[in-house]
Symmetry: C2
Subunit: 295 residues, 2 copies
């Protein structure tokens, strides 16, 4: 192992009803990851609670918390105790009526290295995130830690090549996605398979197009509201800078998956596949347009 290797672990699990139970579970898993020499642990999206965005309910705003706050104090302590960099995912209360879906990165000394507020906010039946979260205003800025620059993005961001590219251009060493995505149990098995395949494919493509390792940590389990049910599809994975799978979880089990990320592979792969050399930045300005409507 060289100084540029990172032992990365992902904790995939179903969620308990309360933050106390979830944090207790995560604490146990962090200890296990630390015992297996992890440097960096990626948690799944909104790991402290069931996926409350399955419904629009004003009382769910009670689940939000300040950053720093109770949860960040706990994760700071755990990061320091286990000498881990931890990527946590919280429901942030910034002000009354102003909430974000926010990832917080803790360094090994327990300090908050930085935070990322989810930029792309989804909204479809069972995933009513536009009701809860104001789109992020911190941009696509990697977070510097003692082990490297982390390009933290969140769930829906994973479908947008622009987000991955901007993190890469800003010097990210790795892309990390806390996520909570699942199937509508009423979809056919073929539709479900195709959706999961699309989700893995598009994220592996960010690795390929940018020559950068990628990891995505998803939840499992079925969660329901009065009208809807979502079966979170797990399949958390880690891939290298040519999209090669290094580890992949099941769609049903609580598990930790891990891999050693060799950051020098990025240098090698970008020499052989030098996309950054050849980008036509003189011809990309329309990327900032919504659509190029016909006259």
């Amino acid at each position: 192992m060289t100084s540029r290797d990172i032992n990365l672990a992902l904790i995939q699990s179903s969620c308990f009803k309360t933050a106390e139970e979830n944090i207790e579970y995560i604490s146990q898993q962090l200890l296990q990851a630390a015992n297996n020499n992890a440097d960096l642990v990626l948690l799944q999206e909104l790991h402290n609670t069931p996926y409350f965005c399955i419904e629009e309910n004003p009382s769910n705003f009670d689940l939000a918390e300040t950053i720093p706050g109770t949860s960040t104090d706990i994760f700071s302590k755990l990061a320091k105790e286990h000498q881990l960099v931890i990527v946590a995912s919280l429901f942030e209360k910034r002000a009354s009526g102003l909430y974000h879906n926010t990832a917080v990165v803790f360094d090994k000394d327990g300090s908050i290295a930085g935070k990322y507020r989810k930029m792309h906010i989804p909204d479809d039946p069972g995933f009513y995130e536009k009701y809860y979260f104001t789109p992020g205003d911190l941009g696509f800025t990697p977070i510097q830690t003692s082990i490297g620059k982390l390009g933290v993005l969140i769930c829906w961001d994973q479908w947008f090549p622009e987000a991955a590219r901007l993190m890469t251009l800003a010097g990210a060493d790795i892309l990390l996605y806390p996520t909570a995505i699942g199937w509508d149990p009423e979809d056919t098995e073929q539709e479900q398979k195709q959706q999961l395949d699309a989700w893995i494919t598009v994220q592996r493509s960010h690795a390929i197009a940018n020559g950068i390792p990628v990891a995505s940590c998803n939840r499992i389990g079925t969660e329901s509201s009065e009208n809807l049910s979502t079966q979170f599809w797990g399949n958390s994975f880690i891939c290298g800078p040519q999209g090669e799978l290094l580890a992949q979880a099941s769609n049903t089990n609580n598990e930790i998956i891990s891999a050693t990320i060799q950051l020098e592979k990025t240098e090698n792969i970008r020499r052989i596949w030098p996309y950054l050399r050849d980008r036509r930045i003189d011809a990309y300005s329309d990327i900032t347009k919504r659509f190029l409507d016909e006259e």
Copy 2:
């Protein structure tokens, strides 16, 4: 079949030594595609010749031709005769000392519907394209035809999510890549497998991220220069707007693959996966930067 369906065929083959032989072969294949009710035929990159970019040789500029010119006259006639939209790929001589890698689209009436000059130009051992081709100056502009707006891109473009996105924003109905990519026979089987997988994955991801069908037509066969050999890996494929494979060729055979593209699927998939709704165009302007260097 509705009016928005397109019968698409791809002609994958090894190349003969001369343009005459290659055009004769392509003519036979076009007849066969037409007999199978194709509307649209995608040819592979620089199909009239062996892949001359395997070496830097000034006499190879003799292979270039004007547009319009001898080859476009032939393909115009074939398009009209068979009532086909044809995407051809030519070595364009624009002026002395000014050459492009150019795709030309012929409509069913034999007219030239438009052309696309390859925007991203590769250069690595055996693929010395920067020596031959000036980067395109026509931008990422889809070509309107009687059967739809074709987002024609070429080979190396396929690794750049920006190109696929810009064609989509400009209203393309489908992305079409003539291509010529292969293995270095000295690479290990695992490296070769990983490269092919990355190539398919990144192009399927353009379909997924943009909700648009994609097709890529590659050559086969081993071609050699004095010092180098390339084994073109075939695997031409067609996928739908969620990246689902509709047809895929082998890596060794001359073959026509085909599929019916249902353009209404784009509407359906974009309703369920509405990425265009949620793009953060306010935060993408750094895409036009080369790199965001640290201060």
